[in-house]
Symmetry: C2
Subunit: 154 residues, 2 copies
DNA sequence: TTATATCCCTATTTATTTTCTAGAGAATAT
DNA sequence: ATATTCTCTAGAAAATAAATAGGGATATAA
């Protein structure tokens, strides 16, 4: 059960790009500074996102990165799968990257698998239903609450 | 998002002990063989479970391990927390082992945190509601289906 | 009491994954 | 041309996970 820094950084960078979408391309440098992400590390992350079609980029003066799709088209689940790999707690219940356990006696009757399948499904539901845009909207609400002193009951 | 081999082994061992509860104490050796778990590795796992009160043990001839509680008292969530640590995808949303992110600008308005909290909650719900006993019951059902050729719709 | 079975404990090795850095290469704008 | 910025390859460093080694402590049985 773990989100790597790599995918956390990826999400922060994508949220940043989504927020600043109107400005066109944004420098790695700026994202790294504002989001406190090691620049070289971020470079490799953004490159991976670009190579998988989520970002576009331009080199040279005036270059930088931009979202390739609008924020409501990008689900958090897809980003995490892309960066961290499968969401499932064990590979034998992964939809995107199934692999059998080497030491499993009988997959069909394995109850750990049964439970992990259930776990995978609830995780996937949460992460796939949520988009960058929804997070930005939620961010607005949280910020408003923070300044206006509301308490929001979940 | 990951279940370590260590906790998978722990669950398999506990399920084994729950199934064979009537026989009294069971040897590490037997569990290791039947469940295909490296014996020395399993030793350290069972010891940890014992030191945390889930198992009792006896040394010497006729010794072995046994469940300290009945299987309906042991939730899967508690076992995974014990062996793998917190269930939350990020520590800043962990109930059992909260820690702030070092690089977080404002925890209150962090939307990644918001989403991970939601994720943690659904995972915890699934894992904490399920006990060893329920898994054994489910196992019976799965085995019956496998032999009788039923198809079970989730 | 002696032999044997069995868990208990500490330390260490090995493997794998994650995080981060270095440095040169290629495209672009002026 | 030159400065700027992303691109690419390689790999070091750190953290975590998985497994092994070897003997110690304790209970039982003969």
């Amino acid at each position: 059960m773990f989100l790597t820094k790599r995918s956390k950084y990826a999400l922060r960078a994508l949220l940043f790009l989504a927020r600043e979408q109107a400005r066109g391309t944004i420098l790695i440098q700026e994202i790294a500074e504002k989001e406190k992400i090691p620049k070289k590390f971020l470079e490799s992350i953004l490159l991976e996102l670009k190579n998988n079609g989520l970002l576009s980029s331009r080199r040279g003066k005036g270059g930088g990165y931009a979202l390739e799709y609008s924020p409501e088209k990008i689900s958090i689940g897809s980003v995490i799968r892309l960066i961290d790999g499968p969401i499932a707690p064990v590979r034998c219940v992964s939809q995107s990257a199934y692999a059998p356990c080497e030491d499993c006696l009988d997959e069909k009757t394995c109850v750990i698998r049964y439970l992990m399948k259930e776990t995978r499904d609830v995780i996937a539901t949460v992460l796939d239903k949520t988009t960058l845009q929804e997070l930005l909207q939620r961010e607005d609400i949280l910020k408003a609450e923070a300044t206006e002193g509301f308490v929001f009951e979940i």
